[in-house]
Symmetry: C2
Subunit: 458 residues, 2 copies
């Protein structure tokens, strides 16, 4: 180990190899505090070359590595199990000039989403992905987990934004696809393979991203509805009529009640509705009239309120966006992130409470999410000691509806045991063959996504 520490110091400089327990500690626990483990050291490279040097030193020593970005992950993929070298990428913070002709930019993996957004907007463009942890989440982590967020409906997930990337493979070689070609059919798309691979196939160090037009006009509608079926009807009408639609978020009466109690918010409607949808439209000119016309056309609408000024929009978004905070304030929830084919969403939502009650009587499920993608964040409060039973029951119900046990958070360590619910043995075998081909010694993020094999380094 002393030899490895020396080798790492030679690569990144003494100040950036943290061996002291106090210095390591902030990196060793994720922000949910559910995942924690000791690293043999934390190493903080500042360039692709330094990352490659770190990986080569670890490979030579047979030392497993765990890769960390902003440490905002929810499935424990970025913290050590024990004794790995923790490679933190937050020093890769280069923001290259925006290429306005191509509407692209190249940035370092350690750049936060917020810094990227500000950089794009300063050049008169915007970035297609947005999510709540924008001030901490890093671009490298967003790529490694193929992050989603609230604008997937309009712009797709993180993998859709990728025009290319640079990465260090487990053997320390560097692959670099940063020219930003929109069309390039010269073999396997390593960029797309690395996106969503959770750091198990390579360490993303730089990313070439597509940017989107910066649209100045915005309007938000909060709509009260009878149930999830009505929400799907509204969604269908909105997608048909509103080319400017950029978000469609759903939540339910119990979540709304929790949020209102927590934040002291007034009732949005005179009447109480079982389900609510927030629609947001973003355009070159004010989309308010288009939204109002659309709502008038849709019979499923129970009641609705629309705002186009910043304060009004924030007021409506707050009913949705305060969910996470209000839930955390009410206890330590089971947090699951699932999606099902859109047609299955109403029955999933109907069946979830009973499924959860069967294993944790008295538990309180709070559901909210991205309705267009059939993506529901299942938060369950008051589960007592039935954490694992609730997780198992929910994920099995999702699988029965042909859904994904991880819609946007990834598998990490948290869901490895349930991977088989979403991926067949044949698919897992194919993934394993790819992993073994690129990382035969199993040194990169062992135990993340795929279970450790007996006899391998994990």
């Amino acid at each position: 180990m002393a030899d490895l520490i020396e080798a790492l110091r030679a690569v990144v400089g003494e100040a950036h190899v943290l061996v002291d327990a106090d210095l390591r500690a902030p990196y060793e626990t994720d922000w949910t505090r559910r995942f924690t483990g000791q690293a043999s050291c934390v190493v903080r490279p500042a360039s692709t070359e330094e990352v490659a040097g770190v990986v080569r030193a670890c490979a030579a020593a047979g030392a497993p590595m765990v890769v960390q970005g902003g440490n905002t992950g929810l499935v424990g993929a970025g913290v050590p199990r024990g004794d790995e070298v923790l490679v933190s990428l937050t020093r890769l913070r280069d923001l290259e000039p925006v290429d306005r002709m191509a509407a692209q930019v190249t940035v370092g993996a350690g750049v936060t989403l917020e810094a990227l957004q500000n950089h794009a907007r300063a050049a008169g463009l915007d970035f297609g992905v947005d999510l709540a942890s924008r001030s901490s989440a890093t671009v490298g982590g967003l790529v490694a987990t193929n992050a989603g967020g609230i604008r997937v409906l309009r712009y797709g997930s993180m993998r859709t934004q990728l025009a290319g990337l640079e990465a260090v493979l487990p053997d320390g070689t560097v692959v670099s696809r940063l020219t930003g070609l929109t069309k390039d059919n010269t073999g396997y798309d390593l960029t797309q393979l690395l996106a969503g691979s959770e750091g198990t196939l390579g360490i993303v160090t730089r990313v070439r991203l597509h940017l989107v037009p910066l649209l100045p006009a915005r309007a938000v509608a909060l709509v009260g509805l009878a149930d999830t079926d009505a929400a799907l009807e509204l969604l269908s009408v909105a997608r048909d009529r509103l080319a400017s639609l950029s978000a469609a978020e759903i939540f339910y009466a119990d979540g709304l009640r929790l949020v209102r109690d927590h934040a002291g918010l007034p009732a949005p409607f005179a009447e109480e509705f079982p389900a609510c949808v927030v629609l947001e439209c973003t355009d070159r000119t004010d989309p308010t009239d288009a939204i109002l016309d659309t709502l008038a056309e849709c019979e499923a609408v129970g009641d609705a309120t629309v705002a186009s000024d910043a304060a009004g929009r924030a007021r409506l978004w707050a009913f949705r966006e305060t969910h996470t905070e209000a839930i955390s304030a009410a206890g330590i929830p089971v947090k699951l992130d699932v999606s099902v084919p859109l047609g299955e969403l109403p029955s999933l939502v109907r069946e979830l409470p009973g499924t959860i009650a069967a294993v944790a009587p008295g538990a309180r499920p709070i559901l909210f999410g991205h309705v267009n993608e059939g993506n529901i964040h299942v938060n369950v409060l008051d589960v007592g000691d039935a954490y694992s039973e609730v997780t198992d029951a929910v994920l099995r119900l999702v699988a029965a509806h042909r859904g994904s046990i991880s819609s946007e958070h990834g598998i990490g360590r948290a869901k490895v045991a349930w991977l088989g619910l979403s991926r067949s043995p044949e698919e897992v075998a194919a993934m394993r063959r790819i992993k073994d081909g690129l990382d035969p010694a199993g040194l990169l993020n062992p135990g993340v996504l795929l279970p450790c094999e007996t006899g391998s380094s994990g």
Copy 2:
């Protein structure tokens, strides 16, 4: 071999294993007639299960396979080198009902692009990819080559349309991702890995596709311009102002002359312009006024003509679309398909004639393509016996401009020798490790995309 033929007959039935030379012949030469080779037999499975049976039989016999769709490829990936079992997928023609709520459809790999388009339109939706060989090109081939075409600007390439797929891996196992989940972060994206892999990692048998809105209103502008720089200026203004922009195609004066002579078309403008761009907008309401406003705003426009009726649109498109036919009528061209970063496009276009003349004096380069993607189809007439020299010189020039030697046609066999111009040794090594992981015996499309290794089955 006789044993293998028997085994294949047991899988697909005797009528669908073609051993007679006359019956095999239509499958053994590509439509450019540049690539030809004998297959040991042609096998025509009709379902995923039959494809899996064919692959297992071949794997057991150690027999290499070559996979063919509509046989419209331009790089020789779908015809045998010699003695492979040719697996033709044209019988996988299932068109499942369109899922209007999800705006998705599942179809067999052998469905033609045209049949898919008609199927989507009958349900009030459309498919995002369109290209000239639509009546023959099959969905499986479009996926395997990540086909592009004229609407990439609006909807992206074929890989962007994929909501999932079903494929048979080289060991005969089936992976199936057909639930159409828009968000699913449960491990490596095998769908995206197989897209563009040219049949070397698996045989795509069914595909789940995103559909796009069927937009009824359409207008086309033909614009005369001073040069490629002016075309980029027009593109930039059009992208900023026309959310309905769906195509931007470029061609040049010598191509226009060839097309007019071939098809007897009148001059589009009173004056002759060095470059022309076709813009198409597609929208819910007539985009003509928006196009006219945009053209009026753009100083680079030399002259322009706009049409919104079907006959007028066809008349303007003909100047671009007749290029391939007019070139073929004038001789057997070198046909290359390249792209460069947009900022490099003007210098590439300026340098190509001199670069070609240096190795083939008297050769006539005709350039046209998809300007938004920096994608130029380089056709060179009258090259004499300098076919390979012209190819080499053009591809090296493209590489010097940080471009791709294959923008949308793939590597196939035609460009294997030049792969290193677009992909680094480290990338090729990574691709090889993936290939060896999934197809250790090298039985699937040997010699396509990656060179055959000494000692492997190719």
